[in-house]
């Protein structure tokens, strides 16, 4: 039993202060988004006198956020599916094959994490343009998958190496083919790390602005961050609408994170429950 001392109290108080500082931008984000035009201009920092929920509807329709939301879902979902499907297969092979080739492959992937992707940005852009993939979902999904694959393989390999071989051996003796063993036994056992890979890379891709701007600006395929950016340029004087748009863009991620954070933590810390 821990005693509640002055020391504990002061520690808690300092954490609360830090948390309050952290929350200040969010406070402004929400309060300004709820204010009518005039109030937002006159007293942007005050608590809203009246609530204008219509800001969200205006931002949604004026900023084409619906289309942008679909784009974000397609880009993020497509990339995550590739990262999970190929990353897990590749990592499982690396983890289970002992040999110089497998070690070299693993090191190559680690190198992919260390090297900044910006080094290859220009030639990759040129190559994708040659292939007619710039401005398309497929082009950016391929690029995202390429730059995040090393991270996916790295996480999966560490987890797969720790996976007891007995499950696979049992499945072999039970008569399962290699593909079935992977599909029905290994992949489900990799679930915690799959959660981590999907959530971690998914969040980064969902929030990515730079690559989406380079590859997709000027098309109808722009995701939420680029759409919000364009919206800011158009409605720079109406911060209440801009902030409402930002909240609309934030909400799916926030909701997803609340639902999925348990998986994220388990993937980093835990193994499989037997």
């Amino acid at each position: 039993m821990h005693r509640y001392t002055w020391r504990t109290f002061s520690r808690e108080l300092s954490l609360l202060v830090i948390a309050a500082v952290w929350w200040i931008p969010f406070y402004f984000l929400v309060t300004i988004a709820l204010k009518p035009d005039l109030e937002a201009l006159a007293s942007p920092l005050s608590f809203p006198q009246s609530v204008e929920l219509g800001n969200f509807g205006t931002a949604w329709s004026q900023g084409s956020l619906g289309r942008a939301l679909v784009n974000s879902i397609v880009l993020t979902g497509g990339t995550v599916v590739i990262l999970v499907a190929l990353g897990s297969l590749c990592a499982y092979t690396i983890a289970r094959r002992a040999g110089a080739m497998s070690t070299a492959l693993y090191l190559l992937f680690v190198l992919g994490i260390i090297l900044p992707f910006q080094l290859g940005l220009v030639p990759t852009y040129a190559a994708l343009r040659e292939l007619g993939l710039v401005g398309t979902y497929a082009g950016l999904i391929l690029f995202y998958a390429g730059i995040w694959m090393p991270f996916s393989v790295f996480l999966y390999t560490g987890f797969a190496r720790a996976l007891p071989r007995e499950y696979e051996e049992a499945a072999q003796v039970d008569g399962a083919s290699q593909l079935r063993i992977f599909r029905k036994v290994v992949f489900p056992l990799l679930r915690p790390v799959t959660g981590t890979v999907a959530i971690f890379t998914g969040l980064i891709i969902w929030n990515d602005f730079f690559l989406a701007l380079i590859f997709l600006s000027g098309t109808d395929n722009t995701p939420l961050p680029v759409a919000v950016y364009s919206f800011v340029a158009e409605f720079a004087s109406r911060w209440n609408l801009v902030f409402a748009a930002v909240i609309v863009a934030l909400l799916p991620v926030l909701a997803f994170f609340v639902v999925a954070q348990r998986h994220l933590i388990r993937g980093f810390t835990g193994g499989i429950k037997t």
Partner: protein, 399 residues
């Protein structure tokens, strides 16, 4: 259901470790054979080679009349129960048992029927919807058995399946596995390092050491006629008492000398073990099972006596284990040390210390109904027809 044959099977790992050397054994159709031996003796390797999980370096393994050396585990029609059960944690008990049948693409209805039949046989009907992590150790063990029997394979392979259970459950499951194996009549190889498990379950036991088969046969044969010091020491609990002794010529034939004490050997003993004649005036290892050190108060007065000093006793109804220091040199050979090593390092140290001593702490199995001999000098009667003799250099039994 099929016989399994090991023909000169060897296994050498890439680092040069020889896990199995020239292993020869024929397992009959429907037989339960137990591979037993200390850690690292090659018993699990032999089992995994039958399953196809280890490659065969030399020799041939046959299931039925088919050489399976190059067959994938999937194609061998064997089922295996692993030490940690290896139940798929993300599947329910039903799905775990059904998995081998799904691999065979069996129709759904048949899968359901077979799984339910297996579950009924193992008393798992109530658990079919649960995940393995919600089951007790005994239930998990049963699920692993269910997954093995549901396919009706040619051979069952069991790799120390009882080692994770507590003592009481182990005894219960031991009985259940034996019953199930008899009912199904499937050829079974059971690996264990527990000699009690081996003795109680096996139609035959194969005792292994350092990858070499030491002796195989029914439990009684291994107990009564061990082929060498290793088997003698390994099989039996409490273990055989071993003394360093000498054979001396007497007026009436030969006597076995332990320290300063002489145990005259009857003509019948010498006739039963003719090779002893060659050991006259030579040192050898003498083994006496605890039940052959008798209570002098209730045995034939004509039997020779072995003096010792009772140190302590353990009441284990219906018997009493009496431990007495007998003045004689202990046998501390490589065989004995290896078995001790399997117990723990301290046991090895104790034995090495004892090597310099002149006493052997002998165990006698007496009737609990008789009065316990108090601490101090005591004379045991010895049934010399039941003595075991071994060559000290080779460890081979002298017969």
């Amino acid at each position: 259901m099929a016989p399994v044959t090991f023909s000169q099977v060897s296994k050498t790992y890439p680092d040069g470790t020889r896990a199995l050397v020239g292993f020869d054994l024929e397992i009959q159709d429907g037989e339960l054979v137990v591979f037993v031996g200390p850690s690292g003796c090659g018993k699990t390797t032999a089992l995994r080679m039958v399953a196809g999980l280890e490659e065969v370096t030399e020799g041939e393994i046959l299931i039925g009349d088919r050489v399976v050396n190059d067959l994938a585990p999937q194609d061998r029609d064997v089922a295996m129960v692993f030490q940690n059960y290896a139940l798929y944690p993300h599947m329910s008990v039903f799905e775990n048992i059904a998995f081998p049948l799904r691999c065979q693409r069996m129709p759904k209805r048949e899968i359901e029927e077979r799984v339910k039949r297996a579950a009924a046989l193992l008393g798992l009907e109530e658990q079919l919807g649960r995940r393995p992590r919600h089951l007790s150790g005994g239930q998990r063990q049963r699920v692993a058995m269910g997954r093995a029997i549901v396919r009706q394979p040619q051979v069952f392979l069991m790799d120390e399946p009882l080692s994770n259970l507590d003592a009481k459950l182990r005894v219960q499951m031991r009985g259940e596995i034996t019953r199930l194996q008899e009912e199904l009549g499937v050829t079974t190889i059971f690996v264990t390092h527990d000699q009690v498990e081996a003795m109680t379950m096996g139609d035959r036991i194969a005792v292994m050491r350092k990858g070499v088969l030491q002796q195989q046969g029914p439990p009684e044969l291994l107990y009564d006629e061990p082929a060498n010091l290793f088997v003698a020491e390994f099989i039996g609990s409490p273990a055989m008492n071993l003394f360093r002794g000498r054979l001396e010529a007497t007026e009436n034939g030969l006597a076995c000398v332990l320290g300063e004490q002489r145990l005259p050997l009857s003509a019948a003993t010498l006739a039963a073990k003719p090779s002893l004649a060659a050991y006259r005036d030579r040192e050898l290892a003498v083994g006496i099972r605890p039940e052959h050190l008798l209570d002098p108060r209730s045995s034939d007065p004509a039997l020779p006596r072995l003096k010792g000093e009772v140190k302590f006793d353990e009441a284990l109804p219906p018997e009493r284990l009496v431990y007495a220091a007998v003045e004689a040199q202990p046998v501390v050979t490589e065989d004995v040390l290896e078995i001790a090593q399997d117990v723990d390092e301290a046991a090895v140290e104790r034995l090495e210390e004892l090597a310099g001593e002149r006493f052997v702490l002998a165990c006698a199995r007496l009737d609990i109904a008789a009065e316990a001999p108090g601490r101090g000098p005591f004379e045991f009667a010895v049934d010399t027809t039941r003595l075991h003799f071994f060559d000290l250099d080779t460890g081979a039994a002298l017969r």
